[in-house]
Point group: C2
Chain length 337, copies 2
């Protein structure tokens, strides 16, 4: 079924409103939703947090390696991860989508299914957006709002010399999944390690762990890891005016990532340091508070590991096994290539 078969743009908007904005989801103070010039909501006595992220076909995803449910899920997840990186509670989401006019309605339904499932899982809801045509590549642009008590938002700029650096989960899994897809194609990649492929296609934003850490009141600085820890930690250091030292042997890397690296003849540590798209969280915490923050995060079922410390200046990664250094200055940069 094509979009023109359901009444074009307004049929599509009506379908989105009907199928994806009702149900038992929180209202988040929304008083005017889809169908007017803009949405209106009352954030109450909390601060509003806003993030926006665009996903472009052939740049951020390929339809031959993914599916529309996963593309929808990931579009929500990468934005929720930014809200988690602020220690905030996700609230309302807005989706602008541009697709070719011969895109099938079923594909778009699956996209919104995945998008709304991810939102719902983390307590957020769809509140508006825009639909457009594009000559070729699908483009998705998300704005995600969140709320946080005044003064409690995590920033990148509060790290202090001597802070321990904590990271949730493990790193390199998304890059491993992507490499399996790129090197062996979708059917073989799924047979080799479907979990890694899914960690790439449907990342889990650390919304709950972030709130648990925020509630301790002990986090000096935090961010989500989207471009690889080598690049992202340097951004945090620049924002805080500090340096950092991490040890490669402390970086959590799943055994399945090491196995995948062997299969495609790549380096698991490079994936962990520079692969990006893990959507784990990085926290800077005073040494005396590490146990408290770790315990709070672990109580949400999320592993957390200390990988190094904040220093006065410089950026050093100690590579344990004496192998040739990876290039530590680069992460993902859209315009470098």
């Amino acid at each position: 079924m094509l979009i023109k078969d359901i009444g074009g743009e307004f049929g599509l908007i009506g379908r989105i409103k009907k199928n994806y904005t009702g149900g038992q989801v929180p209202q988040h103070g929304l008083s005017v939703g889809i169908g007017d010039d803009a949405a209106v909501f009352d954030p109450g006595d909390r601060h509003v947090v806003v993030t926006t992220d665009m996903l472009v076909e052939a740049v951020h995803f390929r339809r031959e390696w993914s599916d529309f449910y996963s593309i929808g899920w990931k579009s929500a997840a990468v934005n929720l991860s930014d809200i988690a990186g602020m220690g905030a509670v996700p609230t309302l989401a807005f989706v602008s989508l541009a697709c070719n006019s011969s895109e099938s309605v079923e594909n778009l339904d699956r996209f919104y299914d995945g998008f709304v499932d991810c939102l719902t899982r983390y307590g957020a809801r769809l509140a508006g957006g825009d639909t457009n045509t594009t000559p070729k590549n699908l483009v998705i642009s998300i704005t995600q709002l969140g709320q946080v008590a005044p003064g409690q938002a995590f920033t990148r700029s509060g790290a202090r010399v001597g802070d321990q650096i904590l990271v949730t989960g493990s790193l390199g899994s998304s890059a491993a999944g992507l490499a399996l897809l790129a090197e062996t194609g979708l059917p073989r990649a799924e047979r080799l390690d479907k979990d890694l492929v899914n960690l790439h296609r449907r990342p889990q934003p650390r919304v709950v762990a972030a709130r648990a850490a925020a509630e301790t009141g002990l986090v000096h600085a935090a961010m989500d890891l989207s471009d690889g820890i080598a690049a992202d930690l340097q951004k945090l250091c620049a924002a805080s005016g500090v340096g950092a030292r991490i040890a490669s042997e402390d970086i959590p890397v799943a055994e399945s990532v090491v196995r995948a690296a062997r299969i495609v003849n790549k380096d698991a540590l490079t994936w962990a340091l520079q692969g990006g798209e893990d959507y784990e969280l990085l926290f800077c915490v005073a040494p005396g508070d590490v146990d408290t923050v770790k315990a709070a995060i672990q109580e949400t079922g999320v592993p957390v590991t200390a990988i190094g410390e904040i220093t006065k200046s410089g950026f050093r990664i100690t590579i344990a096994d004496g192998r040739a250094d990876v290039n530590l200055t680069s992460g993902w940069d859209h315009f470098r290539s």
Copy 2:
């Protein structure tokens, strides 16, 4: 100069932050701006209004008919117009931009110049966004926030039977400018009527007039006109559960639009009814309040005209001169073509 020459994505973000977020613009409660996972602001005791709009090269604009300053201006203006359509005060803007990695930095500078000039003119400021690559067409996605006192947002759903329908400015000018560009090319179109071409490329959102109308407290329903009044008024009627009757001879059309129609052998009334992109405002007001609302709008220097009334049901446009009816059911629809 290419984007990679200024240090890639992070050079570009730094440039945007440095050049386009300082100055004597209102802060709107912003406490964390560009450079963190998300922006944080405190809307105070007002409701937050959110709108989002995407512009795709070759669909919403063509670089051969426009310039990057105008593309930036229009990207801001179409979103500010939605905020005006809610009667709200525009506050923070977020821009996600995807361009080919060989797009020139000068073009992007001009884009942000136009974008921020338009924001500044209407009291808004740039607070964040996202930068991406795209294989081909430039894609711009804007989220614009605004504030309004609780219960004072204009909606499309409050029109009452007997209300007079008011429209600001005049209609069809943007369509006329676009037709001159399409039929005669840029150089000739500018020689024929540069004002019309600029009304198409750099629309003026009716932010000030909207606030003046809002402050009367007498507006039952309102919306901005982006898809042509024939389609837009029907959306308002559907949202309010009412009908409407307007008379073609009452619709304000500039003399220059009539002249342009003669030049390219098109119909000025069709442009006015269905052309779209005028970004004027439509208000529904009780007959006894029309003079008060008109006076408030006119005091801002914006003309306003009564063009018809809200009825119980149906949608009728009386064509004065007895010519063949235009097709009144369609406005701009991205997926019809």
